[in-house]
Symmetry: C2
Subunit: 689 residues, 2 copies
Amino acid sequence: MTATNHFLFELGCEELPPKSLKRLSQALLDNIVAGLQDAGLSYHQARAYATPRRLAVLIDDLQTFQADKVVEKRGPALQAAYGADGAPSKAALGFAASCGASFEQLEKLETDKGSWLIFKQAVNGQATAELLPDIIRKALVNLPIAKRMRWGSFDAEFARPVHWAVLLFGSEIIVTDILGRTTGRITRGHRFHAPQDLSIRDPHEYLGVLRLQGKVLADFEERMAVIRDAANQAAEKVGGVAHIEADLLEEVAALNEWPVPVVGNFDSRFLELPQEVLITTMQANQKYFPVKNAQGGLLPHFITFANIESSRPDSIRAGNERVVLPRLVDAEFFWKQDRKQSLAERVESLKTIVFQKDLGTLFDKTERVASLAGLIAEQLGADSSLAKRAALLAKTDLITSMVGEFANLQGTMGRYYAAADGEDLAVANALEEQYFPKQSGGEIPQAPVSIALALAEKIDTLAGIFSVGLIPTGDKDPYALRRAAIGILRILVENGLALDVAELLDAALAQFSHAFDKAEIRQKLVGFIFDRLKGFCLDQGFSSDEFEAVLAVNPTRPFDFWQRIRAVQNFRALPEAESLAAANKRIGNILKKSEQAPAEQIGTLVEAAEKNLLTAAEQSEADIGPLLAEHNYALALSRLAQLRDSVDAFFDNVMVNSDDPALRGSRLALLAKLSNQFLRIADISKLQS
Amino acid sequence: MTATNHFLFELGCEELPPKSLKRLSQALLDNIVAGLQDAGLSYHQARAYATPRRLAVLIDDLQTFQADKVVEKRGPALQAAYGADGAPSKAALGFAASCGASFEQLEKLETDKGSWLIFKQAVNGQATAELLPDIIRKALVNLPIAKRMRWGSFDAEFARPVHWAVLLFGSEIIVTDILGRTTGRITRGHRFHAPQDLSIRDPHEYLGVLRLQGKVLADFEERMAVIRDAANQAAEKVGGVAHIEADLLEEVAALNEWPVPVVGNFDSRFLELPQEVLITTMQANQKYFPVKNAQGGLLPHFITFANIESSRPDSIRAGNERVVLPRLVDAEFFWKQDRKQSLAERVESLKTIVFQKDLGTLFDKTERVASLAGLIAEQLGADSSLAKRAALLAKTDLITSMVGEFANLQGTMGRYYAAADGEDLAVANALEEQYFPKQSGGEIPQAPVSIALALAEKIDTLAGIFSVGLIPTGDKDPYALRRAAIGILRILVENGLALDVAELLDAALAQFSHAFDKAEIRQKLVGFIFDRLKGFCLDQGFSSDEFEAVLAVNPTRPFDFWQRIRAVQNFRALPEAESLAAANKRIGNILKKSEQAPAEQIGTLVEAAEKNLLTAAEQSEADIGPLLAEHNYALALSRLAQLRDSVDAFFDNVMVNSDDPALRGSRLALLAKLSNQFLRIADISKLQS
């Protein structure tokens, strides 16, 4: 059994940036754990704690010493170890000296590749307490801090000024300097409730001392749970349910050491504003949790968290109500003011806003998207004038005051304002849904007019940005083209739409007047989109070779691609699949290597096996025709699987390379006929066995 | 000031049918109020109360007497009133005798149309107390009771046996017989808590006596509110929100006189069942309110209402838990069992179920719908194989055990089972959404595959049922064809789809092999659908003449119709509209009445006004062409509005019927040219000024 101790490190700082607190905390834990692993130190369990004023790591049962180990040094080869006289050579003695050993202490190592002199040295493990300071310093240096700062007269740099550092191993302090502070056992409690020094005798006391004496909940996850529960209880008291989004919950937990809920109210006249506006106002600016009724409508209350148990909670409430009021009044003003000008009247102003310097203004983009959306709408059986109308208005909400203030409401305000203008409901919805999917896995547009606009918007952006050479590389994707490409694919595949993405790209590219190589850009765009499709297919459980098998036949309709890959996966599970994949690979090689071209017509065949294969291939060709017309690739491949025995018999009994060129040509033609049937669905020779 | 009294009528019964209690109660109030109005009796306020065991009406400040009035009888004409001798004639004396009056008591009435003898008789108003018994009896006879019953040895008939009747006017009993019971002031309280007689001294005591002494909440609305609040409070205690649907709330209120909430629990393993299954099990069979968490997921609890304050609430809870358990076990069994056979494997069984005797089985319908859905999918740019697949599976969930037990889960279970079978998500969703919209104003399908199936399903039903002559008349619409037609229209109009409903009907009708007059049925179907469109347009605020103006040009694409009617409404608001509508009407009449046909070409014109009109008409024709191609009917009509001055000048200065037949023909052609431009949008001559 190894001796262990509990370990605690706490860094006390000025208030850390709330949005990165959780990430910092996790990184500190990860870095320290990595340092321990590098040092070969094991432990039972490691946990991170974090509050606005502290980062801490607590490790249970950390080994107190590294294990002892034997280090092996390799010296000269055995044949060079002795002189002709049988005495140790100069090289051997030199090696022994370099190891601080006598020649007698050396040993021999014999392997397949030769024999050498070696020296085995026992190395005692170091004390963990000696290793920890450097492990911690290295962990701190490697934290993901965008901007480090210096403070006072210290040389140290950190995200915020550091005021204390606790470093305990067991009940002992490991005394060292961390970011300019000498480590000890003294932490501090809540800034207002318990600003005095608090002494930690043992790492396991940490949470308890802070909670009971310090009025600090050091556990981030626990604090989130406490906030969630307190918000819901507070909401219940005013007959509602707290509306809690994960990001805000985390941020509030990163702002409070001792979260105390406060329910505030606002004038119910503001409930006439769009719900999204109120929620954004409360969440983004104020870090308040909105309160909803059971039907999902907002109530005129909010829940905020004070970092203090106030003796005058009413004044905290009143203060918050005073602060949010002007925000709500602003929002109300925007809502009234914006509606004085219709979206249609704002179109002209789009001429003054540059979309991208080589691609013109938002108005130019609007015109392109409108024409594309109209085209798509026609393919979707939707009235093209509706799609064009939606495209015409699509960007106008960007120049409303509300979206100017709350950029995240783009599209949503478009929907509200369009509805207020009396635009068609389908148009209003499309204004919001043009941006769908908004995040990975997010909702996609399903209504035809929305689909037309969302596709047109994304395809124009992709085509335009590619055409001016701004193709995403590595991490750089400022126009979010990857997201756009995935959005296009999901819209087509999940809605089962038969649209051809290459055709749409052609239409989009044809609208640009600047000079570029259309064929090259088109090819790059198709490649870019199908790279995304590959990721999408792999995510959905298809394998890489299944993807390649379909890609080889170049389908440009993503949903068609999807149907084919499903059929290929299905086919692969059949007992005939492996043999047929191999046969197709063999046919491919034969046709590729043959100096003679297949005959145009299959002439007289000789062997029974080839005659049978011809009959079978003609029958299967007739059978799969109607299935392919229905895009029923799965059934078509199942039908082709029945060819297996005939194909096997052919290769067992027929030599393709007959001396008779006519017969050879016929045999090649027979194989081509067979192979082409598979290739109407996918190149199954790509399937790995 | 009129003397008034409060009035109370209460009928005590055995437990009334809960689903019609509220309707019965309202009808009793309406009928009594109608009786009072017929009798000319006024009052301040009338309210209805109802519990499972009683119907009551309370009226404040009801007049105690009808007003006195003067009745006028008309006798012989004045010229026949006196004999040649100036003495009263025989006729006059006879009239006086018939009035029970002397000749001297008669008066003279002189009007424009002649003069007569009349007798004015003062009639005293009757006492309300005397009138009330018959008003009540008549009100009871006219209640909407599907099945009346008799009880004991009584002749009376009512929905349930009647046990007592309270009839008070002020503090006095109006003694009479109501449904075999002698009226009094004695009511009874809660069947278990307060079964004794309770005396009501005054109508205004009614609610209070029942509440305080009787443990009965007689006010239906109040009871609903109490149940809603109690359910929510009970749900909060288990950390949830009660899921309360309006129908069930009403039913629970109709089942309890003194509602007491009881929270019960079920094994959380059942939460693996589809949510809709659990909700249906709890609501439909058990009348329980489900409990949801803030995210809308179900919790393993329910809230039921006991009609009693039990000293052993736990045994009520346990009893309910015991009762619901086998239901949940059944549902769980169905869920497991049903998934053992895929939906695709069930298709064959559809051959054994008759859809309609002349239209074959559900399998036949499935085949028709599949072909139609495929056709529509192609028009929607969706993959037709997906739509056909969805159609193939569309009716298969009807033969699952779950839908056999819970018919309201049809479609929903289709979605779950299809997803479990690994069908495409678009297919699974379509199985549920084929039934959308489920009620007036309900959600419509938006996703292309869902739209294809929903339209195909409805159009096949409409076409099929019409083709076998079962056209809905009056209230009879067993196949819900009106709902289907409105569904088709809403799907096309609200999604902005350009599909032609007549074309779809043709495709549907072509699939039936039985003999019928296709042209006639098609015409009836189109008429039926456009009748529904009229209702839809009127509901949306369009007027009847706007509808007729568009209908006149026979658009068969509902969304196109919609765009036209919006343009017409828009046009009508223009200052030029009235004059142009009149001009078009005049042109229509001229063309119709003219014996000469318009010239094929407009030849030489003479007057400046007609030359101007020709120029203007040619210009507008050129301008509206592109607008109409874009379906921009509103702008096109605005453009045509500019013709007003030229048209007015034409009619002011030109006589169409010139003696020169060539000139006349040219003028007629000019007018036809003009009129045809309007008719490309709508027949605005139909607009009423």
